[in-house]
Point group: C2
Chain length 346, copies 2
């Protein structure tokens, strides 16, 4: 089927309108008319081939919300008219240990990205959500609670699950103290989600300008880490530090702010390695743990949790012709906190 979207044609071109083919829905496929798609930083890295693996033309987008318009004959989980979501991946082997454990995100044969992967034919690039329609195996399609604003729910599919999954995995619950570093697309979801789990949330930031927002988002405390001695005063304080910063930064001070057995969760991959001191880990049996989005079952759990707690992302809505402007602003951190494209305008 012919669909419309926005694509980058090369690493240094702007994104622009482009028509391309989606596969004809198979028996297990769901065809979704896309209504909204969030802009994730990964989209920008990918469109600009900053990870060196992009094939062009490329259509980014993995925070997708839309309505089911067609279902294959063997589809049982979704029906025509359902409000659904598609996140960061659209296929996995379904047989390895990780897939068996409902952790398709860690599929041992390599999970297939919503963009940047290949279709079943092994050749056609997968193309993301900056488009009018997408065709996805029903297993990788999520149900979106109808009480949520669909545009603001789009970033849950990446920023939401990326922060929800590790917070749940380490058992964040009522009474825990959670620090969040980096108040961007991921971080602002981390604050909302940790607070919704009952944690006492502290935002650690170098920018005084973030304080008002931190509180509005649900943080109970704000520490300006650029102030002399601020981190020293936090030694042994937190159960969990959620680090969403993807630029180079110090992690040893924040690690020291963990209690014994506390976990420093790394979800923002810095392009350069971190300098990791041994003593802050050793002296308190502290851990640094990485985490990559979440499995399908856990993503559905997160969406249901957000439905129950009325949690969505803070978004700025744009039309497709504003995508390139949005990229420039997002690169400067000038967005509160996610751009979401109105995909009915393609």
């Amino acid at each position: 089927m012919k669909v419309k979207g926005y694509a980058a044609q090369s690493a240094d071109s702007d994104l622009a309108g482009w028509e391309f083919e989606r596969r004809t829905p198979g028996n297990k496929d769901v065809s979704v008319q896309i209504e909204h798609c969030g802009i994730c930083h990964s989209d920008i890295h990918f469109a600009r081939n900053e990870w060196g693996s992009t094939s062009y033309p490329c259509v980014p987008g993995h925070e997708i919300i839309g309505r089911v318009v067609e279902v294959g004959s063997d589809v049982s989980r979704h029906s025509k008219g359902d409000l659904v979501g598609v996140g960061c991946f659209v296929h996995s082997c379904r047989t390895c240990g990780s897939c068996h454990d409902d952790l398709e995100n860690y599929c041992e044969t390599g999970v297939r990205g919503t963009y940047g992967g290949v279709e079943d034919d092994g050749v056609t690039p997968t193309r993301g959500g900056y488009s009018s329609h997408i065709v996805v195996d029903e297993h990788f399609v999520l149900k979106i609670p109808e009480n949520l604003d669909p545009a603001a729910a789009a970033p849950l599919l990446c920023a939401g699950i990326t922060t929800y999954s590790p917070l749940r995995h380490v058992g964040v619950t009522k009474g825990h103290r959670v620090a969040v570093m980096g108040l961007g697309g991921l971080g602002h979801m981390g604050v909302k989600l940790a607070a919704s789990m009952g944690a006492e949330v502290t935002v650690l930031s170098r920018s005084p300008s973030k304080q008002a927002d931190a509180e509005r988002l649900g943080a109970h405390d704000f520490v300006l880490t650029s102030e002399e001695g601020a981190l020293n005063a936090l030694v042994g304080r937190f159960d969990v530090v959620l680090d969403t910063i993807s630029a180079e930064h110090d992690i040893n001070g924040p690690i020291m702010s963990l209690k014994r057995d506390g976990t420093f969760i790394m979800v923002g991959a810095s392009p350069t390695p971190h300098a990791l001191a041994g003593f802050p880990l050793i002296m308190g049996r502290r851990s640094v743990m990485g985490s990559l989005v979440g499995g399908i079952a856990e993503t559905q759990e997160m969406l249901d949790h957000c439905g129950k707690h009325d949690i969505v992302s803070d978004v700025e809505r744009i039309t497709p012709d504003q995508i390139n402007m949005a990229y420039e602003r997002a690169m400067r951190g000038d967005v509160k906190y996610r751009f979401v494209i109105d995909c009915t305008q393609f």
Copy 2:
């Protein structure tokens, strides 16, 4: 009471015979006639003031085995004539959360080292096991299984518990795959202990000369990591990597050798920070965890485990006049695998 021992009088002096005072045993104290004391790398760093906190004269030694010669009136756990051990610390607050959880090693007010701390008077430096006698609160005195060779059991008090505690903490059990990096004092205990827990143990080493010993110690496999591509072939293989190397070295390749949810245990603190890449952690929800010796209850559990499985350290026995020679050899890694001083010769 006047005791004999060996002390460094300054950062650049050799250790030599020295007489000093121990406190008179109190009601809860046990007085131990020391028979053996292991030489730990920490002793060398401390004697030479390489951590900048040494006060002189200093008496190192925290792998202590001896016989009880006197007990205070309120002592209930030990009796005259018992074979006992003293490890890395001799006091903790006994009231904080960590002490309450039997993790005195992570005492939140700071655990008091067997050497390098201060006595209850707040002034007198604690002095370690390179001596004829030591006086210790009974809580910090361990029972040594009588079936073990006492000299070879001495290193269990530091090298043994340092490796046993994190392996137990992460749940190493039958069928797990454990890699050990660094086949020295800590590493050789790691191999023996992980194997005794039922794990399949692999030694990762850059020295082909270590292979025969690795196998003799109980390793099931040996991988020469200096060979091109050796680590790449191990991606996703281990449940646990136990890193005992205290010099600068790459940790990202070994982290990639972990399965999803695997743990890289850091017990050898490098003097310089490690370069930690984000992706190896993120792509498999892997963790890096530090660990510092173990609590008293767990140390007793480790000793009982070693008694049951006939596990001791491989040691080279020396007399006090050989301590300085032993330091030089230990610094070159020329010891299999721990020097143990005959403390009856002071």
